[in-house]
């Protein structure tokens, strides 16, 4: 026999052995790779089984159509046997509007709905600055949302037309000059204030004029007396405007050109309407205040520095509930008699301060993470303090702080449920208590909390996903 070998036929490729393929490979590698992991896997499967065994029937026996909890139980007993348990979502079906709006009059539901839809239009230029495509998609979503919900809430046809034209106008603006959309963002707070609380259309307009006066005085005075004194003069002028000129002007304008919608008192607000009003206002004002506090804490000017440190440490050292009690009780003793300072406004101010103090420390961490060279390079190019901060320092410091900032925002939003302690109707405790006090739903326990928790989860998870998107978008260091 010769030792030589000559292949006459080439081998076709074969599939890999069954243990190295698809699901089996995945199982072997991820679940059963070592004996210890086999034990852990079996234990985990057992735990999941037990959880499902106790919870799954409850979900599967859900009842959506019933008049009361006892009726729910009867239906469950009739369909699944006398010992079966079942969720009673009929309560949500009957009371969902209270979870969303509190005691806001149903005929006016279109107002918070419109404000909520426009909120996203106002956020759009902040969330997706200058990105035509994302802006268009978001505004399209707002339009669809408003078309549907305004129709369902039986909004007056004039409102319907105005809202649709407004959003269409913004869509057109985005196609031409996406940067200009920020003007709507600036007007949005006044518009929403008027939509939610109602009353004369002139009160938000005249109040906004205070800001215009602040800016006008600042612009006129800053070449003469310098930036900081001019800002001070502007604030004084605006406060004088709000204290002494605001109300008479509103009355005058209202008597000359009356236009108003029904006023809604703060104690009728509740549920997620309240949580979102407090949360969104708190989030949008706490960030700029937090930035100023963080910069103040690093300032060379001793008084600015001490004030910032004192504010931050005081607010952080006190529980939020203490501040809320301060808002609801103490402020009334300190304010001049006869001032009617709205409870929601007071709570918003203190929640904002609370979040701002935390944000200040988060942002200080971001500032500390920047190399000194960045400050020096900005200085060496002749940029003044505010330009260096705005163009060089803050974009980088805020970028590294995004995860912590969004955590603070999520915390703030969830903390809005604490307003229950000062008698406001938050979705978790306030509304649930009211629902459970009803004789029909007495004894219902899991369902309202699951419902409210699910909505909170959706909103907070959304914020979290957006922050991850933002981090990816801003990643330019290529490390």
């Amino acid at each position: 026999m010769a030792q030589g070998f000559n292949r006459t036929e080439m081998l076709p490729p074969l599939p890999p052995p069954v243990t190295e393929r698809g699901a089996i490979k995945w199982l072997r590698e991820n679940l059963f790779s070592t004996p210890f992991n086999v034990v852990l896997t079996l234990f985990g499967v057992a735990v999941i089984y037990l959880l499902l065994q106790s919870a799954l029937p409850w979900w599967l026996n859900s009842v959506w159509n019933a008049e009361s909890l006892s009726q729910c139980r009867e239906i469950v007993a009739a369909t699944a046997g006398p010992d079966a348990t079942g969720a009673c979502w009929a309560m949500i079906r009957e009371r969902w509007h209270q979870f969303l709006f509190g005691f806001y009059p149903p005929a006016e539901y279109w107002r918070p709905i419109l404000a909520f839809g426009l909120l996203f239009a106002a956020l759009a230029p902040v969330l997706y600055s200058g990105q035509k495509r994302s802006l268009t998609i978001l505004l399209g979503g707002v339009l669809a949302f408003l078309l549907l919900t305004l129709y369902l809430s039986a909004a007056p046809s004039s409102v319907f037309v105005v809202a649709v034209l407004l959003v269409l106008g913004m869509l057109a603006l985005v196609q031409m000059q996406p940067g200009k959309l920020i003007w709507f963002t600036l007007l949005y707070p006044a518009l929403t204030f008027w939509l939610l609380w109602g009353g004369s259309v002139w009160s938000p307009i005249v109040a906004m004029a205070g800001f215009a006066i602040l800016y006008g005085v600042f612009r006129l005075a800053s070449p003469l007396i310098g930036l900081a004194p001019a800002a001070g003069a502007g604030v004084v002028a605006a406060v004088l405007w709000w204290l002494y000129i605001d109300v008479p002007t509103v009355n005058l304008l209202q008597s000359a050109l009356p236009f108003s919608i029904p006023a809604i008192a703060s104690d009728q607000f509740g549920g997620f309407l309240l949580a979102i009003v407090i949360g969104v206002t708190g989030i949008s004002f706490s960030l700029p205040i937090g930035i100023l506090l963080a910069l103040g804490r690093q300032s060379d000017m001793p008084i600015v520095k001490w004030l910032s440190v004192g504010f931050i440490e005081f607010i952080r050292g006190v529980p939020l509930i203490t501040l809320l009690f301060t808002a609801s009780l103490l402020l009334q003793y300190f304010l001049p008699p006869g001032t009617n300072f709205d409870i929601i406004l007071r709570v918003i101010i203190l929640v904002t301060f609370f979040a701002a103090a935390y944000l200040a420390e988060v942002i200080r961490g971001g500032l500390a993470a920047l190399p000194r060279g960045q400050y020096e390079a900005a200085d060496a190019l002749g940029l003044d303090y505010w330009r260096a901060q705005r163009l060089i320092i803050l974009p980088q410091a805020l970028k590294v702080s995004i995860p912590a900032i969004v955590s603070t925002f999520i915390g703030l939003f969830k903390d809005t449920t604490l307003v229950a302690f000062v008698g406001l109707m938050d979705p978790l405790k306030g509304v649930t208590q009211i629902v459970r006090a009803d004789i029909d739903w007495k004894g219902i326990y899991w369902e309202p909390y699951i419902f409210v928790g699910a909505i909170f989860f959706l909103i907070c998870f959304g914020m979290s996903r957006y922050s991850m998107y933002l981090e990816r978008k801003l990643k330019t260091d290529h490390r």
């Binding site: 190399p371 020096e376 200085d379 060496a380 190019l381 002749g382 163009l391 970028k399 330019t476």
Partner: protein, 255 residues
């Protein structure tokens, strides 16, 4: 070295430092500094680490504050007056050891930022200037990348271009090649030599003695916060006067 002789030095005074002292707390870091820089001069400052050479040039654009004496840059005295400081800083370019580019901006944005916000140049014009200087430092193709995507040598050339976009009358270099890999030092030095040949007033803290010999018209040796010796390069390297200078030169040129 023939090129160095051709470069013009005018009688106009660019920087005048007289009787300047600086302390860090108790530590006397700069002691009785007196120097005059003529427009068009290329000065190399060398010395052992901790001798105060970086601190000295950082005083010239007020990144560091001096406590005694006078610094006059282009006829403007540096005091606590912020207007004067900003004026001097916009006239004086600075290049750092660690480049200090802005990592969140593209190369082009790095270059146009200060002209747009400090000099109020229209955006398009600032971009044209930026591209002109990027071509000069031979990396126009990197304009839309971020600093993190460039090599060290490229980043330092961008940093030089960024300073030049402000059309400075004086350039300060603070150890511009110390953080670079050896093969990248040459590309940065070439850029600096080119700048010197165009008549820029330059003060350069560096240990690149070859650069000093090729370009400088004066070498200053510092030790313990004071100017120990200064001379034209040929004299300085071939015939140092003080023992400290001799020791330093033997250490730095010894191998």
């Amino acid at each position: 070295m023939a090129e160095a002789a051709q470069m013009q030095i005018s009688d106009e005074v660019a920087i005048q430092i007289s009787g300047m002292n600086k302390w860090y707390g108790q530590f006397h870091v700069l002691r009785d500094i007196n120097m005059t820089v003529q427009r068009g001069e290329r000065i190399v400052i060398c010395g052992p680490s901790g001798s105060g050479k970086s601190t000295l040039i950082r005083c010239i654009n007020r990144l560091e504050e001096h406590q005694q004496g006078q610094i006059i840059v282009d006829g403007t005295e540096l005091t606590n007056d912020l207007k004067n400081i900003d004026k001097v800083r916009s006239e004086v370019g600075m290049v750092f050891q660690h480049f200090n580019l802005f990592p969140h901006l593209t190369i082009l944005e790095n270059l146009t930022l200060a002209p747009i916000w400090v000099r109020k140049v229209p955006k398009r014009e600032a971009e044209e200037t930026a591209m002109y200087f990027l071509e000069k430092v031979k990396i126009p193709e990197q304009a839309n990348k971020y600093p993190g995507q460039l090599s060290g040598g490229q980043q330092q050339r961008v940093a030089i271009a960024r300073s030049l976009c402000m059309k400075p009358r004086i350039m300060l270099f603070d150890e511009p090649t110390s953080a670079l890999d050896p093969e990248m030092i040459k590309e940065v030095l070439d850029t600096m030599i080119q700048l010197a040949q165009e008549g820029m007033t330059m003060i350069c803290v560096t240990h690149e003695m070859g650069f000093a010999q090729a370009v400088a018209n004066r070498v200053i040796f510092m030790d313990q916060g004071q100017i120990v010796e200064q001379n034209e390069p040929k004299e300085f390297f071939n015939n140092p006067k003080s023992d400290r200078t001799k020791l330093f030169l033997s250490q730095i040129l010894g191998h």
